[in-house]
Symmetry: C2
Subunit: 241 residues, 2 copies
Protein backbone atom coordinates (compact mmCIF):
# COMPACT_ATOMS: atom_id res chain seq x y z
CA UNK A 1 0.00 0.00 0.00
CA UNK A 2 1.37 3.38 -0.94
CA UNK A 3 -1.29 5.60 0.53
CA UNK A 4 0.62 6.64 3.60
CA UNK A 5 1.08 10.14 2.34
CA UNK A 6 -2.29 11.73 1.89
CA UNK A 7 -1.78 15.01 0.11
CA UNK A 8 -3.64 17.92 1.68
CA UNK A 9 -7.01 18.49 0.00
CA UNK A 10 -9.99 20.52 1.06
CA UNK A 11 -12.89 18.39 2.18
CA UNK A 12 -16.55 19.29 1.74
CA UNK A 13 -19.33 17.77 3.80
CA UNK A 14 -22.73 18.28 2.21
CA UNK A 15 -26.05 17.55 3.91
CA UNK A 16 -28.54 15.85 1.60
CA UNK A 17 -31.93 17.44 2.16
CA UNK A 18 -35.30 16.76 0.63
CA UNK A 19 -35.37 13.01 1.11
CA UNK A 20 -38.90 11.73 1.64
CA UNK A 21 -39.92 9.77 4.71
CA UNK A 22 -38.30 6.35 4.35
CA UNK A 23 -40.39 3.23 4.86
CA UNK A 24 -39.84 -0.50 4.53
CA UNK A 25 -38.66 -1.44 1.06
CA UNK A 26 -37.55 2.07 0.16
CA UNK A 27 -34.86 2.23 -2.52
CA UNK A 28 -32.29 4.31 -0.64
CA UNK A 29 -29.84 4.44 -3.53
CA UNK A 30 -32.56 5.74 -5.81
CA UNK A 31 -33.78 8.31 -3.31
CA UNK A 32 -30.23 9.58 -2.73
CA UNK A 33 -29.54 9.87 -6.46
CA UNK A 34 -32.77 11.84 -6.92
CA UNK A 35 -31.90 14.19 -4.06
CA UNK A 36 -28.31 15.02 -4.97
CA UNK A 37 -25.71 14.83 -7.73
CA UNK A 38 -22.85 12.52 -6.80
CA UNK A 39 -19.30 12.35 -8.18
CA UNK A 40 -16.75 9.56 -8.43
CA UNK A 41 -14.83 9.43 -5.18
CA UNK A 42 -17.60 10.80 -2.96
CA UNK A 43 -18.36 8.98 0.25
CA UNK A 44 -22.07 8.84 1.00
CA UNK A 45 -22.87 8.58 4.70
CA UNK A 46 -26.28 7.15 5.56
CA UNK A 47 -27.56 6.99 9.11
CA UNK A 48 -28.49 3.65 10.58
CA UNK A 49 -32.01 4.88 11.24
CA UNK A 50 -33.05 5.17 7.60
CA UNK A 51 -31.22 1.99 6.66
CA UNK A 52 -33.07 0.10 9.38
CA UNK A 53 -36.38 1.60 8.30
CA UNK A 54 -35.77 0.74 4.65
CA UNK A 55 -34.83 -2.81 5.60
CA UNK A 56 -37.75 -3.23 7.97
CA UNK A 57 -35.46 -3.63 11.01
CA UNK A 58 -38.12 -1.96 13.10
CA UNK A 59 -40.08 -3.65 15.82
CA UNK A 60 -43.18 -2.82 17.82
CA UNK A 61 -42.63 -1.82 21.44
CA UNK A 62 -45.08 -0.89 24.14
CA UNK A 63 -44.19 2.79 24.58
CA UNK A 64 -45.61 2.75 28.12
CA UNK A 65 -43.69 -0.33 29.23
CA UNK A 66 -39.91 0.09 29.59
CA UNK A 67 -39.56 -3.69 29.82
CA UNK A 68 -40.72 -3.99 26.25
CA UNK A 69 -37.67 -2.06 25.01
CA UNK A 70 -35.45 -3.83 27.49
CA UNK A 71 -36.37 -7.31 26.32
CA UNK A 72 -35.32 -6.44 22.77
CA UNK A 73 -32.00 -5.07 24.09
CA UNK A 74 -31.33 -8.31 25.97
CA UNK A 75 -32.17 -10.40 22.94
CA UNK A 76 -29.86 -8.39 20.67
CA UNK A 77 -26.93 -8.65 23.13
CA UNK A 78 -24.44 -11.48 23.26
CA UNK A 79 -22.37 -10.11 26.15
CA UNK A 80 -23.24 -7.49 28.73
CA UNK A 81 -20.27 -5.35 29.77
CA UNK A 82 -21.90 -2.92 32.21
CA UNK A 83 -25.32 -2.05 33.60
CA UNK A 84 -26.42 1.13 35.34
CA UNK A 85 -30.11 1.77 35.88
CA UNK A 86 -31.84 1.36 32.54
CA UNK A 87 -28.58 1.61 30.67
CA UNK A 88 -26.96 -1.55 29.30
CA UNK A 89 -23.55 -1.48 27.60
CA UNK A 90 -23.33 -4.68 25.65
CA UNK A 91 -21.78 -6.40 22.70
CA UNK A 92 -24.32 -6.99 19.97
CA UNK A 93 -24.44 -10.12 17.86
CA UNK A 94 -22.73 -8.06 15.12
CA UNK A 95 -19.76 -7.37 17.40
CA UNK A 96 -20.49 -3.72 18.23
CA UNK A 97 -20.10 -2.56 21.80
CA UNK A 98 -22.67 0.16 22.48
CA UNK A 99 -25.53 1.29 24.66
CA UNK A 100 -28.76 -0.68 24.58
CA UNK A 101 -27.55 -2.91 21.75
CA UNK A 102 -28.20 -0.06 19.33
CA UNK A 103 -31.97 -0.42 19.80
CA UNK A 104 -33.31 3.10 19.50
CA UNK A 105 -36.61 4.80 20.19
CA UNK A 106 -35.80 8.25 18.78
CA UNK A 107 -36.61 9.36 15.24
CA UNK A 108 -38.97 6.42 14.77
CA UNK A 109 -42.74 6.34 15.15
CA UNK A 110 -44.00 6.10 18.69
CA UNK A 111 -44.60 2.47 19.59
CA UNK A 112 -41.70 1.24 17.48
CA UNK A 113 -37.97 0.72 17.99
CA UNK A 114 -35.29 0.69 15.31
CA UNK A 115 -32.85 -2.21 15.50
CA UNK A 116 -29.41 -2.25 13.92
CA UNK A 117 -29.44 -3.53 10.34
CA UNK A 118 -28.82 -7.26 10.12
CA UNK A 119 -25.53 -6.66 8.28
CA UNK A 120 -24.61 -2.99 7.87
CA UNK A 121 -21.70 -3.76 5.55
CA UNK A 122 -24.12 -5.53 3.22
CA UNK A 123 -26.47 -2.55 3.52
CA UNK A 124 -23.62 -0.25 2.50
CA UNK A 125 -22.72 -2.49 -0.45
CA UNK A 126 -26.31 -2.48 -1.67
CA UNK A 127 -26.48 1.30 -1.57
CA UNK A 128 -23.12 1.59 -3.31
CA UNK A 129 -24.13 -0.86 -6.03
CA UNK A 130 -27.49 0.89 -6.42
CA UNK A 131 -25.84 4.28 -6.84
CA UNK A 132 -23.42 2.88 -9.39
CA UNK A 133 -26.22 1.26 -11.36
CA UNK A 134 -28.38 4.35 -11.21
CA UNK A 135 -25.94 7.24 -11.58
CA UNK A 136 -22.86 5.53 -13.02
CA UNK A 137 -20.57 6.87 -10.29
CA UNK A 138 -18.23 4.97 -8.01
CA UNK A 139 -18.72 6.14 -4.47
CA UNK A 140 -17.89 4.83 -1.04
CA UNK A 141 -20.72 4.30 1.42
CA UNK A 142 -20.66 4.47 5.21
CA UNK A 143 -23.59 3.49 7.40
CA UNK A 144 -23.29 5.57 10.57
CA UNK A 145 -24.69 5.31 14.05
CA UNK A 146 -24.40 7.33 17.24
CA UNK A 147 -22.38 5.71 20.02
CA UNK A 148 -21.19 6.84 23.41
CA UNK A 149 -17.73 5.96 24.67
CA UNK A 150 -15.89 5.53 27.95
CA UNK A 151 -13.93 8.36 29.56
CA UNK A 152 -15.45 11.14 27.49
CA UNK A 153 -18.84 12.78 27.64
CA UNK A 154 -21.18 12.94 24.73
CA UNK A 155 -21.81 10.80 21.70
CA UNK A 156 -20.19 10.82 18.29
CA UNK A 157 -21.18 9.16 15.07
CA UNK A 158 -19.15 6.12 14.05
CA UNK A 159 -19.25 3.70 11.12
CA UNK A 160 -21.23 0.50 11.54
CA UNK A 161 -20.99 -0.50 7.89
CA UNK A 162 -18.95 0.44 4.84
CA UNK A 163 -18.42 -0.36 1.18
CA UNK A 164 -15.89 0.80 -1.36
CA UNK A 165 -13.48 2.32 1.14
CA UNK A 166 -10.84 1.13 3.56
CA UNK A 167 -12.43 1.82 6.95
CA UNK A 168 -8.97 1.69 8.52
CA UNK A 169 -5.99 3.14 6.67
CA UNK A 170 -2.78 1.42 7.56
CA UNK A 171 0.23 3.74 7.76
CA UNK A 172 2.71 1.08 8.84
CA UNK A 173 6.01 1.56 7.12
CA UNK A 174 5.36 5.18 6.23
CA UNK A 175 7.53 7.85 7.75
CA UNK A 176 6.73 10.98 9.64
CA UNK A 177 8.01 14.44 8.75
CA UNK A 178 11.32 13.54 10.46
CA UNK A 179 11.78 10.32 8.54
CA UNK A 180 10.99 8.16 11.56
CA UNK A 181 8.75 5.18 10.97
CA UNK A 182 5.29 5.96 12.35
CA UNK A 183 4.31 4.09 15.47
CA UNK A 184 0.65 5.02 15.36
CA UNK A 185 -0.25 3.02 12.36
CA UNK A 186 -3.94 2.62 11.75
CA UNK A 187 -6.34 5.51 11.30
CA UNK A 188 -10.05 4.74 11.57
CA UNK A 189 -10.99 6.85 8.58
CA UNK A 190 -14.56 5.51 8.38
CA UNK A 191 -15.27 6.68 11.92
CA UNK A 192 -13.81 10.10 11.16
CA UNK A 193 -15.98 10.31 8.04
CA UNK A 194 -19.08 9.41 10.08
CA UNK A 195 -18.17 12.05 12.67
CA UNK A 196 -17.66 14.71 10.01
CA UNK A 197 -21.03 13.85 8.48
CA UNK A 198 -22.80 14.17 11.83
CA UNK A 199 -21.73 17.80 11.98
CA UNK A 200 -24.04 18.61 9.07
CA UNK A 201 -26.80 16.18 10.01
CA UNK A 202 -27.49 17.07 13.60
CA UNK A 203 -29.75 14.92 15.71
CA UNK A 204 -32.89 16.97 15.46
CA UNK A 205 -32.85 18.21 11.89
CA UNK A 206 -33.87 15.00 10.22
CA UNK A 207 -31.04 14.99 7.68
CA UNK A 208 -30.21 11.29 7.32
CA UNK A 209 -27.65 11.44 4.50
CA UNK A 210 -24.50 13.48 3.86
CA UNK A 211 -21.85 13.44 1.17
CA UNK A 212 -18.15 13.74 2.03
CA UNK A 213 -16.30 15.03 -1.00
CA UNK A 214 -12.54 15.37 -1.42
CA UNK A 215 -11.18 12.46 0.62
CA UNK A 216 -7.83 11.21 -0.49
CA UNK A 217 -8.46 8.78 -3.37
CA UNK A 218 -6.36 6.10 -1.69
CA UNK A 219 -9.16 5.61 0.84
CA UNK A 220 -11.25 4.09 -1.94
CA UNK A 221 -10.81 0.44 -2.81
CA UNK A 222 -12.50 -2.34 -4.70
CA UNK A 223 -10.79 -4.92 -2.53
CA UNK A 224 -12.69 -6.64 0.25
CA UNK A 225 -12.87 -4.14 3.10
CA UNK A 226 -15.63 -3.58 5.60
CA UNK A 227 -16.35 -2.41 9.10
CA UNK A 228 -16.84 -5.91 10.47
CA UNK A 229 -13.64 -7.13 8.85
CA UNK A 230 -11.37 -4.18 9.53
CA UNK A 231 -12.77 -1.85 12.17
CA UNK A 232 -14.16 -4.09 14.89
CA UNK A 233 -11.54 -5.12 17.40
CA UNK A 234 -11.69 -8.84 18.14
CA UNK A 235 -12.45 -9.49 21.83
CA UNK A 236 -9.16 -11.40 22.21
CA UNK A 237 -7.27 -8.27 21.13
CA UNK A 238 -9.26 -5.96 23.38
CA UNK A 239 -8.06 -4.76 26.78
CA UNK A 240 -11.55 -3.65 27.79
CA UNK A 241 -13.65 -6.77 27.28
CA UNK B 1 -30.26 26.81 25.10
CA UNK B 2 -32.00 26.95 21.76
CA UNK B 3 -29.38 25.38 19.56
CA UNK B 4 -30.97 21.97 19.34
CA UNK B 5 -31.96 22.42 15.74
CA UNK B 6 -28.85 22.84 13.68
CA UNK B 7 -29.95 23.84 10.21
CA UNK B 8 -28.23 21.89 7.43
CA UNK B 9 -25.18 23.75 6.13
CA UNK B 10 -22.32 22.58 4.00
CA UNK B 11 -19.10 22.23 5.93
CA UNK B 12 -15.64 22.83 4.51
CA UNK B 13 -12.47 21.42 6.06
CA UNK B 14 -9.37 23.20 4.81
CA UNK B 15 -5.79 22.05 5.45
CA UNK B 16 -3.46 24.91 6.33
CA UNK B 17 -0.20 24.35 4.49
CA UNK B 18 3.00 26.30 4.42
CA UNK B 19 3.52 26.66 8.15
CA UNK B 20 7.20 26.76 9.06
CA UNK B 21 8.79 24.30 11.47
CA UNK B 22 7.49 25.20 14.92
CA UNK B 23 9.93 25.60 17.80
CA UNK B 24 9.72 26.66 21.42
CA UNK B 25 8.21 30.12 21.79
CA UNK B 26 6.64 30.14 18.31
CA UNK B 27 3.63 32.44 17.96
CA UNK B 28 1.12 29.91 16.64
CA UNK B 29 -1.68 32.45 16.23
CA UNK B 30 0.60 34.67 14.17
CA UNK B 31 1.86 31.79 12.02
CA UNK B 32 -1.70 30.61 11.36
CA UNK B 33 -2.87 34.11 10.40
CA UNK B 34 0.06 34.45 8.01
CA UNK B 35 -0.66 31.09 6.42
CA UNK B 36 -4.41 31.44 5.86
CA UNK B 37 -7.31 33.89 5.80
CA UNK B 38 -9.78 33.21 8.59
CA UNK B 39 -13.44 34.22 8.92
CA UNK B 40 -15.70 34.82 11.90
CA UNK B 41 -17.19 31.50 12.91
CA UNK B 42 -14.32 29.32 11.69
CA UNK B 43 -12.99 26.66 13.99
CA UNK B 44 -9.22 26.31 13.82
CA UNK B 45 -7.94 22.86 14.71
CA UNK B 46 -4.32 22.68 15.85
CA UNK B 47 -2.61 19.39 16.56
CA UNK B 48 -1.16 18.76 19.99
CA UNK B 49 2.27 18.21 18.53
CA UNK B 50 2.81 21.80 17.36
CA UNK B 51 1.20 23.20 20.50
CA UNK B 52 3.56 21.15 22.65
CA UNK B 53 6.55 22.21 20.57
CA UNK B 54 5.59 25.89 20.74
CA UNK B 55 5.12 25.62 24.50
CA UNK B 56 8.33 23.69 25.03
CA UNK B 57 6.49 20.60 26.30
CA UNK B 58 9.21 18.48 24.76
CA UNK B 59 11.66 16.38 26.72
CA UNK B 60 14.88 14.59 25.95
CA UNK B 61 14.69 10.80 25.78
CA UNK B 62 17.37 8.23 25.13
CA UNK B 63 16.20 6.93 21.76
CA UNK B 64 18.03 3.65 22.33
CA UNK B 65 16.58 3.00 25.78
CA UNK B 66 12.85 2.20 25.90
CA UNK B 67 12.90 2.73 29.66
CA UNK B 68 13.63 6.39 29.08
CA UNK B 69 10.28 6.89 27.34
CA UNK B 70 8.55 4.62 29.83
CA UNK B 71 9.65 6.59 32.86
CA UNK B 72 8.08 9.75 31.43
CA UNK B 73 4.85 7.85 30.76
CA UNK B 74 4.75 6.62 34.36
CA UNK B 75 5.39 10.11 35.69
CA UNK B 76 2.63 11.66 33.58
CA UNK B 77 0.07 9.03 34.67
CA UNK B 78 -2.11 9.26 37.76
CA UNK B 79 -3.92 5.95 37.27
CA UNK B 80 -3.00 2.96 35.13
CA UNK B 81 -6.02 1.22 33.61
CA UNK B 82 -4.34 -1.50 31.55
CA UNK B 83 -0.90 -2.71 30.56
CA UNK B 84 0.10 -4.98 27.70
CA UNK B 85 3.73 -5.28 26.74
CA UNK B 86 5.08 -1.77 26.25
CA UNK B 87 1.60 -0.30 26.02
CA UNK B 88 0.16 1.52 29.01
CA UNK B 89 -3.43 2.82 29.02
CA UNK B 90 -3.56 5.38 31.77
CA UNK B 91 -5.29 8.46 33.04
CA UNK B 92 -3.07 11.50 32.74
CA UNK B 93 -2.90 14.22 35.34
CA UNK B 94 -5.12 16.29 33.01
CA UNK B 95 -7.84 13.62 33.15
CA UNK B 96 -7.38 12.12 29.68
CA UNK B 97 -7.42 8.36 29.32
CA UNK B 98 -5.09 7.38 26.51
CA UNK B 99 -2.11 5.28 25.51
CA UNK B 100 1.28 6.11 27.00
CA UNK B 101 -0.06 9.22 28.74
CA UNK B 102 0.01 11.01 25.40
CA UNK B 103 3.83 11.02 25.39
CA UNK B 104 4.76 10.69 21.76
CA UNK B 105 7.94 9.98 19.83
CA UNK B 106 6.63 10.55 16.29
CA UNK B 107 6.88 13.85 14.41
CA UNK B 108 9.45 15.16 16.88
CA UNK B 109 13.22 15.18 16.57
CA UNK B 110 14.95 11.91 17.37
CA UNK B 111 15.99 11.89 21.00
CA UNK B 112 12.99 13.91 22.12
CA UNK B 113 9.43 13.14 23.19
CA UNK B 114 6.43 15.48 22.99
CA UNK B 115 4.34 15.66 26.15
CA UNK B 116 0.76 16.87 26.30
CA UNK B 117 0.47 20.64 26.82
CA UNK B 118 0.19 21.57 30.47
CA UNK B 119 -3.35 22.91 29.94
CA UNK B 120 -4.68 22.43 26.40
CA UNK B 121 -7.76 24.56 27.03
CA UNK B 122 -5.49 27.44 27.97
CA UNK B 123 -3.41 26.76 24.86
CA UNK B 124 -6.59 26.98 22.78
CA UNK B 125 -7.63 30.23 24.46
CA UNK B 126 -4.23 31.76 23.77
CA UNK B 127 -4.43 30.87 20.10
CA UNK B 128 -7.99 32.17 19.90
CA UNK B 129 -7.07 35.46 21.58
CA UNK B 130 -4.00 35.80 19.41
CA UNK B 131 -6.01 35.29 16.22
CA UNK B 132 -8.57 37.85 17.36
CA UNK B 133 -5.88 40.39 18.20
CA UNK B 134 -4.04 39.78 14.96
CA UNK B 135 -6.78 39.28 12.38
CA UNK B 136 -9.81 40.73 14.13
CA UNK B 137 -11.89 37.57 13.66
CA UNK B 138 -13.72 35.52 16.26
CA UNK B 139 -12.92 31.88 15.77
CA UNK B 140 -13.20 28.75 17.83
CA UNK B 141 -10.05 26.74 18.49
CA UNK B 142 -9.65 23.02 19.09
CA UNK B 143 -6.38 21.40 20.11
CA UNK B 144 -6.49 17.84 18.77
CA UNK B 145 -4.65 14.66 19.55
CA UNK B 146 -4.75 11.11 18.26
CA UNK B 147 -6.23 8.53 20.64
CA UNK B 148 -7.11 4.89 20.37
CA UNK B 149 -10.27 3.52 21.90
CA UNK B 150 -11.62 0.24 23.20
CA UNK B 151 -13.65 -2.13 21.05
CA UNK B 152 -12.72 -0.57 17.74
CA UNK B 153 -9.51 -0.72 15.76
CA UNK B 154 -7.58 2.30 14.72
CA UNK B 155 -7.10 5.76 16.12
CA UNK B 156 -9.12 8.91 15.59
CA UNK B 157 -8.38 12.51 16.45
CA UNK B 158 -10.22 13.95 19.44
CA UNK B 159 -10.24 17.31 21.20
CA UNK B 160 -7.91 17.78 24.16
CA UNK B 161 -8.49 21.52 24.42
CA UNK B 162 -10.98 24.08 23.15
CA UNK B 163 -11.88 27.75 23.27
CA UNK B 164 -14.81 29.72 21.93
CA UNK B 165 -17.03 26.71 21.26
CA UNK B 166 -19.21 24.35 23.23
CA UNK B 167 -17.29 21.07 23.04
CA UNK B 168 -20.49 19.22 23.89
CA UNK B 169 -23.81 20.42 22.49
CA UNK B 170 -26.68 19.59 24.75
CA UNK B 171 -29.85 18.60 22.92
CA UNK B 172 -31.89 17.90 26.02
CA UNK B 173 -35.41 19.16 25.63
CA UNK B 174 -35.24 19.32 21.85
CA UNK B 175 -37.44 17.03 19.83
CA UNK B 176 -36.73 14.60 17.08
CA UNK B 177 -38.45 14.63 13.69
CA UNK B 178 -41.42 12.83 15.30
CA UNK B 179 -41.80 15.34 18.12
CA UNK B 180 -40.43 12.91 20.71
CA UNK B 181 -38.01 14.34 23.21
CA UNK B 182 -34.52 13.18 22.32
CA UNK B 183 -32.98 10.63 24.64
CA UNK B 184 -29.47 10.88 23.26
CA UNK B 185 -28.76 14.34 24.48
CA UNK B 186 -25.14 15.38 24.29
CA UNK B 187 -23.13 15.43 21.09
CA UNK B 188 -19.35 15.72 21.42
CA UNK B 189 -19.01 18.27 18.65
CA UNK B 190 -15.38 19.11 19.48
CA UNK B 191 -14.37 15.49 18.96
CA UNK B 192 -16.25 15.35 15.67
CA UNK B 193 -14.51 18.56 14.57
CA UNK B 194 -11.11 17.08 15.47
CA UNK B 195 -11.95 13.91 13.54
CA UNK B 196 -13.05 15.89 10.47
CA UNK B 197 -9.82 17.90 10.60
CA UNK B 198 -7.69 14.75 10.73
CA UNK B 199 -9.10 13.71 7.36
CA UNK B 200 -7.25 16.61 5.72
CA UNK B 201 -4.16 16.48 7.92
CA UNK B 202 -3.12 12.87 7.67
CA UNK B 203 -0.42 11.49 9.88
CA UNK B 204 2.47 11.63 7.49
CA UNK B 205 1.83 14.83 5.56
CA UNK B 206 2.96 17.25 8.22
CA UNK B 207 -0.16 19.44 8.09
CA UNK B 208 -0.64 20.47 11.72
CA UNK B 209 -3.55 22.93 11.32
CA UNK B 210 -6.93 22.79 9.60
CA UNK B 211 -9.88 25.16 9.42
CA UNK B 212 -13.45 23.87 9.78
CA UNK B 213 -15.79 26.38 8.13
CA UNK B 214 -19.58 26.35 8.18
CA UNK B 215 -20.39 24.84 11.58
CA UNK B 216 -23.72 25.86 13.00
CA UNK B 217 -23.20 29.24 14.70
CA UNK B 218 -24.77 27.95 17.91
CA UNK B 219 -21.67 25.87 18.54
CA UNK B 220 -19.78 29.11 19.20
CA UNK B 221 -19.97 30.69 22.61
CA UNK B 222 -18.25 33.30 24.73
CA UNK B 223 -19.42 31.57 27.89
CA UNK B 224 -17.02 29.43 29.87
CA UNK B 225 -16.74 26.13 28.01
CA UNK B 226 -13.76 23.86 27.63
CA UNK B 227 -12.73 20.28 27.10
CA UNK B 228 -11.73 19.73 30.72
CA UNK B 229 -14.96 21.27 31.97
CA UNK B 230 -17.42 19.75 29.51
CA UNK B 231 -15.93 16.84 27.61
CA UNK B 232 -14.01 14.81 30.15
CA UNK B 233 -16.19 12.33 31.99
CA UNK B 234 -15.56 12.41 35.72
CA UNK B 235 -14.31 9.03 37.00
CA UNK B 236 -17.33 8.74 39.33
CA UNK B 237 -19.63 8.94 36.31
CA UNK B 238 -17.61 6.46 34.28
CA UNK B 239 -18.50 2.79 33.95
CA UNK B 240 -15.04 1.91 32.65
CA UNK B 241 -12.72 3.31 35.31
Amino acid sequence: MTDGVRAPRTLTVIPVTGLPEVGRGADLAGLICEATALCDGDVVVVTQKVVSKAEGAVEAVDADDPLSHKSIVERESVRVLRRRGDLVISETRHGFVCANAGVDLSNVERGTAALLPEDSDRSARRIRDGIRARAGVRVGVVVSDTFGRPWRRGVTDVAIGSAGIRPVVDLRGTRDAYGRELQVTEVAVADEVAAAAELVMGKATGVPVAVVRGLDPSVHTDEPASVSRDLLRPPTDDLFR
